[in-house]
Amino acid sequence: MNAPLPDAVRFLDVRRRLAFFLRALWDQGRDLRSFQATLKQSRPYITAMGIHLPESWRSATGETGSALYRAAVAHAAAHLTFSPPPQKRGKLRPVQVAIAGVLEDARVERLACREMPGLQRLWVRFHEAKPQGSATFQDLAVRLARALADPDYEDDNPWVMKARHAFESPDVDLADPSFVRPMASLLGNDIGQMRLQFNAKTYVVDPVYRDDNSLLWVPQPQEDDEGIPLEDEILMAQPEDGDSDEGQVLEAPGAEEIVGPKPVGAGAADEADESGLGDWLRSVPYPEWDYLVSLSRPAWCTVQETPAEPADPAAIDEITHRHESLLQRIDALIRGSELRKPRRLRRQMEGDHLDIDAVVNAMIDVRSGRTPDPRLHVRIDRHERDLSVLVLLDLSESTNDLVKGTGQKVLDLAREATVLLSAAMDRIGDRFAIHGFCSNGRNEVRYLRFKEFSMPFEDTAKARLAGMTGQLSTRMGGALRHATRLLQAQASDKKLILLITDGEPHDIDAHDPKYLQFDAKKAVEEASRAGIYTYCMSLDPKADEYVSRIFGQRNYTVMDRIERLPEKLPGLYLRLTR
């Protein structure tokens, strides 16, 4: 129904700036999602998954469109900050529920404006109600919404004025939501006495930036025998599939595109011997940390070295070709950062050798009685860089998810990023290895080596990278310990594990998510004690809590747009090792 204008602002265009806006003003990391607006669900809604906004707003173009999205996010955030937990509807009639929604909307906006007065301007511009017009309930509700939001608005309707007076009364403490319910109840009775029709099926919250207020109420079971019988079961517009799964998290259709699991690389072990990789097949037991008892469980998890399946290395070369211009930029970046070559710095105050030209000039100055230039030396400036990097890739099943808007899997993007990063490290001359891991319970943490430190980044390594697949789970601790051990054998001055992951540690036999997190944290600490830095690149936008717990305040980055990983990773690496 809502065919947007061609130049309407689309959610995808503003998503990132909205996320910044939400994070800045409210310190909220809620996910922002889009849904396709329908007759039934045309207003934003809030679930445990995040804040759901329409893909576009019909007729909202240019500045107005962005502002509308911003108003919607700010309003939703005000709810999340100030609204009480969902309540039972109890004996409230649908019309009273609708009025309670209007009052609650006004209440949370007022509270938000107390701190941030400028938000009022943002919201008020979308209130378009006029004091004239038909006096249907929908109309009055919109007028009331405006009367409560806009102090300059005048209305002559007695009901609107009564509601406004009640709301503005000095006895009302806005910070305490308990006044909303009785006030809505009284105002609802008035509507009943005015014999105004209320149709819950057609009622929509207005103005458009406001969400459907479904977060205020406990989802109502069909067989609600507690309240009075209602002619309409759906009080507020619910998401399309809302009535089929009460109490569940409501998910908008079309929000997710997840493809099925790729077949697991079967018969890996059989081929291992043929390819001469048999000596890799080792099982190494590692301890695991149990945070509940603060003890290390000895030999609790087993890392199994698994051979990497080679595929056609041409796929990797194709990536390099596709990113030709990006590689050139990386090259320029490396040259610009002067990481590589020692430089002869002439005319220095200090240095290893004398700068003959400068000395001659100085002597001439001395003989002729002038003050000589004291900068007589040549210094060789070596940016000494002795660094070994182990890139550790999370190869769990979730890396097979498609990244929205690209048609590529997370794994493909991780592969691309790794290839570009490898090109950068190769050019700088850092020693690096590329390994990956996935897990299937504590006895089977599979550890794959795509490129060794000693191996050139050529066909063998490329073939293995091309054959990389994602499966199973993410048991980080064991893999980190194994990586630490391999890196310890390197003789470099500085050592770094760069972990690229798309989710938190989990495994089939660990039901307490904190268990694997704390174990991973322990593994990071052990690495640090062995003189190895660990840095995490997380592709999970909700990663903050656990990633900072595991890796420490400054040792991680969360990518807000996974699709930009390939172009971001090499830059991050250069900055990190500058």
Binding site: R16, R17, L18, A19, F20, F21, R23, A24, L25, W26, D27, G29, S66, R70, A74, E115, M116, P117, G118, L119, R121, L122, M349, E350, A362, D365, V366, G369, R370, T371, P372, D373, P374, L376, L387, K494, L496, Y533, Y535, D544, R554, N555, T557, V558, D560, R575, L576, T577, R578
Partner: protein, 276 residues
């Protein structure tokens, strides 16, 4: 070689480093008391904290309060040990020894403040070691002199642990010589007082500026490397006090300097308009 280190002002060679007027400093916690005790024990100190939160102002204030001269040196990558210690210079007659800032401070009893010490190369940082333990002396290898630190001398460094580069960190052997004071952006009420005092804007505007600053700090690690510092808020206040519209002032002094990302700029502009 003749030593011609002729002092320019024989009476007080470090007169120019004395602080005449009381610098404005608003105490946030116990830091003054702690620092005074540390100075009394001549304990080398490290001031930690994000940029623009008042580290340098604090040390200026303390130097003034203790009546000691303050020699400040901003460290950079190209700094060598002799930039700290001193060097021979050529002149028409021959050579002349020139004390470096660290030697000057040690010889005549100043507080020597090395700003952003991680920026200096690691071998450079090592020259401060003999000054920071029981020896309290500074060997001038080239001049063949051992400078005993003046009883008033104290070494202070600043260190911003937020640096993203893992290769830039102080050695443990350096870190462990110092006591450390942690600095953060002060709490809103105090920060507003500071912004108001320094820039001359009304308390109401100052409070709003501080709120904007706080909001931007939520974005640290989420697209911003660092939120707006107290210093930036003061800059915004300066412009507002000169009659610039607050939204424009914040754009110029907060939003534009802090990010080049168009989306981030848009979000921060929206944050500013939420307050003004």
């Amino acid at each position: 070689m003749t030593d011609l280190s002729a002092p320019t002002t024989a009476a007080d060679p470090i007169a120019q480093y004395r602080i005449g007027r009381e610098p404005y400093y608003r105490p946030v916690g116990q830091e003054i008391e702690l620092y005074e005790a540390a100075y009394a024990a001549r304990l080398p100190m490290m001031l930690k904290g994000p940029t623009g939160c008042g580290k340098t102002r604090f040390i200026e204030y303390m130097a003034w309060k203790l009546g000691k001269p303050l020699v400040t040196l901003a460290c950079n990558e190209d700094m060598t040990a002799s930039d700290l210690v001193g060097r021979y210079l050529l002149d028409a007659q021959g050579t002349r020894w020139q004390d470096g800032p660290l030697t000057l401070a040690a010889r005549y009893g100043a507080i020597c403040y090395l700003d952003e010490v991680v920026e200096a190369r690691q071998d450079t940082a090592v020259v401060i070691h003999p000054l920071t333990d029981a020896r309290r002396c500074l060997p001038l290898e080239k001049k063949n002199e051992l400078v005993e630190a003046h009883p008033d001398f104290q070494l202070v460094i600043s260190y911003n642990p937020g640096y993203q580069s893992i290769l830039k960190d102080l050695k443990q052997s350096t870190k462990q010589r110092f006591g450390a004071l942690d600095f953060h952006y002060p709490e809103a009420r105090i920060e507003a007082e500071i912004v108001g005092h320094e820039s001359g804007v009304s308390p109401d505007i100052a409070a709003k500026l501080v709120s904007v600053g706080e909001k931007t700090r939520h974005l640290k690690g989420h697209g911003l490397e660092e939120g707006a510092s107290t210093r930036m808020l003061i800059h915004a206040g300066h412009l507002i006090a000169r009659g610039i519209d607050p939204i424009a002032a914040c754009r110029v002094t907060l939003v534009r300097p802090i990010t080049d990302d168009a989306d981030m700029r848009d979000a921060l502009d929206a944050v500013v308009t939420a307050f003004f």
